[in-house]
Structure formats: C-alpha cells, structure tokens
C-alpha cells in the first residue's frame, strides 16, 4: 500500500469559523496504480495533495505515504516521492535545463551513474536533447513541463504526484506527456496520482478514478465502469457549406441540435467518430468538424445529479 488515509480531514479557521476544506477522505492506493483524482475547483484536491506530501498538517484522521507519516517524516518522504505542480516550477529559472537536473540529482543524492542512466532515458523519450542547454526561463511551457516531469523522476520516486500537469499545454505537448507518463507507469515501479481538469489525461493514464467534492470522496471506481454509468456522450460538431435540415438517423447518433440556421449541427453520439463523419459526408457537404469530449465537469455534474 503506497497511500493509505483514514478519515483524513482539514479545517481552516477563518474569522473564528471552522471551514472544512477536506472532511473525510479515505483512500487506499496500491503500488503501481495510476489514480485520477478529480473534482471541481475548491473540492479539496490540492489540500489533500498538500497533506499527502507533508506540507500541510491534517486536522483529522491519518495518512501514511510510502509507509511514512508525511508531516513528521517529510524529508524522508521527499526522497521517495516526486511532485509536479503544473503552475509552479521546481527548476532553476536562470540555469540551463541540464544544470537544473544536475542540481536536483545532487539534492536527492542520486548516484552519478544512476542519474546519468535515468536522465538519458527521459531525454530520449521526451525528446529534450535540443533544449538541454537552454536556460529554463527561455523554454516554452511544453518544454518546461517535460523538464518538470523529468526532474520529479530523476531520483526514482515510488510515487509521482502530478497536480494539473497538462494545464495550459497545446495538444501535441499534452499528448507527448501522456504517452511518456503512461510508459513510466506501465513499467510498474512508479505509482501515479494525478489531478486534472482534462478528461483525456485521465483516459490515457488512469484505470481508477477518485472523485471528491466538498471534501468527501464521492466516487472511487474503475474508469470504464464510471464512464458507462455516468459520463455523457461525445459530440460531433459539423459545420456545413450550405444549410441543411437536422441530420437525423445517422449511425450511433442519439441527439441532434441545430444552430446557425442549419449551418452547424451538434451530433451527440456513441461509437467511432470516423465512421460517423464519413457517413455524414455522404449526406451533406462538410466544411469543418470538431469532436467535443464530455468534460470532467460534465461527468461530475452527472454524478451530483444522480
């Protein structure tokens, strides 16, 4: 068991009023798992992560991470976990990326040979060779995030905590990062705990999803089960060359909404988007298509409604 919490809670006292940010979180994560930790803003995700990493003291319950008490054994824990905050940097702003890695290795006292090996692997998989000698402040966000993830992995952590790792990244960068993290997790020696607002992150990386709201665990289940039960369908947005009537009767389509006098149609569907596009193209002349994924917010909204 790499994470084990029982009744974990955290109150903040504001003007003598106790406000519970996290009320009662019980969580068991096995070694090698990949868990998506979801919830709306203010649900208590970050507070929970802070308690798991030892930078915030719980006001109720217990937490063990890697068998350690996070707050009391923070330094020992820091050697065994890696943390990536999408909105904060652990790299040295004015140093070349390679030197940030060297420093990070030194702080974690990673033996030189092991450091070299681990770094080479990350550099290759994340395609970082071209900008290793660029100062961090001159990197693009996508390049920097690759650096952040590498830094968090250099000391071979047992647990990698990722807080909004893909926030603000372009699609290609998100995809590259997901592929890499999936590969890291697939080897089985690194457990992933991931918070995100991006459903594709969860789909690519996590088999298990924990949804919290108002500081409590709402759902803790297998992702596939969860989707079957709660998530909405995807929506194909079709822009037409000429106005047309509602495109009813296409394979897999469960609902049609018409906008812009029939110039744009929203087809809620199940199954393959490719087949649906081909089928629609035979009926009307299409100028453009996009596929809208059901968002985490949609999923969570459905969860609340149920």
């Amino acid at each position: 068991m790499i994470i084990q919490t029982r009744g974990l809670g955290r109150d903040f006292v504001v003007r003598r009023t106790r406000i519970p940010a996290v009320a009662d979180v019980g969580l068991d994560v096995e070694r090698g798992e990949a868990v998506g930790f979801l919830g709306p803003n203010g649900a208590g995700k970050s507070t929970t992560i802070k308690m798991l990493t030892g930078v915030l003291v719980p006001t109720a319950g217990t937490a063990r991470v890697c068998g350690l008490d996070p707050v009391r054994e923070r330094k020992a824990l820091a050697r065994r976990i890696g943390v990536v905050f999408g909105q904060r940097s652990q790299l040295w702003w004015d140093l070349p990326l390679a030197e940030s890695f060297a420093l990070h290795g030194a702080i974690h006292r990673v033996p030189a040979a092991r450091h070299r090996e681990r770094l080479d692997e990350c550099v290759e998989l994340l395609d970082m060779a071209a900008f290793l000698s660029t100062p961090v402040r001159q990197l693009s966000l996508g390049q920097r995030m690759r650096g952040e993830v590498t830094a968090a992995l250099l000391h071979s952590p047992e647990l990698l905590v990722l807080d909004e790792p893909t926030i603000g990244l372009d699609l290609a960068s998100k995809e590259r990062l997901r592929t890499f993290l999936a590969a890291v997790n697939a080897r089985g020696d690194v457990t992933l705990l991931l918070t995100t607002h991006d459903l594709p992150d969860v789909e690519r990386l996590c088999r298990r999803v924990v949804v919290i709201d108002k500081g409590r665990v709402l759902v803790d289940d297998d992702l596939a089960t969860l989707r079957r039960r709660f998530a909405g369908n995807r929506t194909l947005v079709v822009d037409l060359v000429e106005p047309a009537g509602p495109l009813h009767g296409l394979h897999g389509v469960v609902d049609v909404a018409v906008e812009a006098q029939g110039m744009r149609q929203r087809l809620e569907f199940t199954g393959s988007a490719a087949g649906l596009i081909a089928e629609a193209a035979r009926r009307v002349e299409i100028r453009d298509v996009t596929v809208d994924e059901p968002s985490i917010e949609d999923l969570v909204r459905t969860l609340y409604a149920s």
Partner: protein, 261 residues
C-alpha cells in the same frame, strides 16, 4: 553521493553569471557613486590631513573597497525567498529533502563569488588607476580580508534571510526591505567611516551586526585595529543570525504547514 551544498554554491555562481549585461550596467552606477563619494571624503580631508585615523589613501581605499563590496555583501535586492513565500512557490522549497537555509546560504556564497569577479575587482582596479589606494602591508592581511569578506556575506545573508522570512507573516515584505535599504548603508559603514561617527553612535552600533557588513572587512584590509577580534565579532553575529533564522524559518514554515498559509 556527495553533499549537494557545494553544487549549490556553483549553481549560485552560474545563475548570477548569466546576467552579465546587468552586472556591467550596475558597475557604471558603482563607479559614478565611487567618484562622488571619494570627492566628498577628499573635501573633508582637505581641511585636516588625517580625520579619525583616515588619511587620503585610507579614505579613497574605504570608498572604492566599499563600492566593490556593495554587491558582494549585498545589502539590497535579495527578495527571492519573500517572493516565493508570497506566491506560494515556497511549498516546493519546503518539499525538498534539503536544509532550506543551508541551501540558500550555499547559493548566496556562489552569488558572492561571482560578484567578487564582476563587481569587486573592477571598481577596485578603477579606483587604483585614479587614486592612491592603500594596499595591505602584511601578506597575511589578504587572507584575513578574504575571511572577513566571506563572514560579511554570511552576516548579510543572515539579515536578509530574516527580512525575507518576515513574509511568512506579512506576505508582502517589500516595506521591510525598503526600511533596511535606507538605514543599512549608513549604519554598516558603507557611506561614511563609522570612526567618524560620534562616540555614542559608535558604541550603540557595536551592539548590532551592522559594522560586520562593511566596516569590519574594510578595516581589516586597511590594517586598522586588531583583526582576529574583529573576525570573531563577525563570526559571533553570523552564528547568532543564522541560529535565529533557523528558529524563524521553523516557526514560519510551521505556520504555513499548520495554518495553511
């Protein structure tokens, strides 16, 4: 694997050496102020050949060494930790398996090392080209001066660390920096030799770490007074300030960890 702190010293050096143009620009200001301050002190010495033990050579050495040490010892402009506390990035620093104060001190020593090359040597060379600098007569003085300068950096770090740590409580520590910025220079013997101050002011300052910053290293260089006692005084303040800093950091991070910022 070795301790990370030597590497952090090198990193501090490297970080600051990336801003070479800024260092050059700062050097201009150093030199202009050196010329002005030398002119004022020389005007004072035009009245009497020796004022409180300073002759012309000692006075110009005081000025140029002071201008050079200014960015080595660094009175102003180190607000990194306070900024990280305000933005919350300090969470990352606290989450690392290191001693945060020791890590910052290591980085600061590296910074000071770069400043010796970029900001101490050039103004001294400039001053030596135009003015009769008083160089040490005893070879041992150079070594003592190096130690005094390093202890001055540590004392200055100790003070800056406390100023920065005030952000744990104040959030915005810029006002604290501003106050230190204006009193620090005069009280530490950067502007006017402390020997020229009235007796009561000198006595009062002797109970503060301020003279350790500039007056002590400059006195050691000028071979004024007994150096070992002066270094011991600096070491005392260095240890005391670092010790207080540890307590404050512990309290501050505990506040962050317990109250959640």
């Amino acid at each position: 694997m070795l301790s990370p702190y030597p590497q952090l010293v090198i990193a501090g050096f490297r970080r600051h050496s990336t801003y070479r143009q800024a260092a050059l620009a700062g050097l201009t200001t150093n030199i202009v102020f050196g010329l002005l301050r030398a002119a004022v002190l020389l005007a004072v010495l035009a009245q009497r050949p020796v004022v409180a033990g300073y002759d012309v050579a000692a006075a110009v050495t005081f000025v140029w060494l002071g201008q050079g040490l200014l960015t080595v010892v660094l009175l102003w402009g180190d607000t990194e930790l306070a900024t990280r506390i305000r933005t919350g990035d300090v969470v990352i620093d606290l989450g690392r398996p290191w001693d945060l104060q020791a890590a910052l001190l290591a980085g600061d020593l590296g910074r000071a090392g770069f400043a010796v090359l970029a900001r101490l040597v050039p103004p001294m060379a400039f001053g030596a080209a135009l003015f009769p600098i008083r160089w040490p007569e005893r070879p041992a003085t150079w070594a003592l001066f190096a130690v005094a300068a390093m202890l001055a950096v540590v004392v200055s770090f100790g003070i800056r660390f406390l100023l920065n740590a005030s952000a744990f409580w104040l959030l915005d520590a810029r006002g604290v920096f501003a106050v230190w910025g204006v009193v620090g220079g005069v009280l530490s013997g950067l502007v006017i030799p402390l020997a020229w101050f009235p007796e009561w002011a000198r006595t009062a300052l002797a109970f503060t770490p301020a003279p350790s910053l500039f007056q002590t290293p400059i006195d050691v260089f000028l071979e004024r007074g007994e150096p070992v006692g002066a270094l011991a005084g600096q070491a005392f303040w260095a240890v005391l300030l670092l010790g207080v800093g540890r307590v404050v950091l512990h309290r501050g991070s505990r506040r962050l960890v317990v109250q959640g910022g």
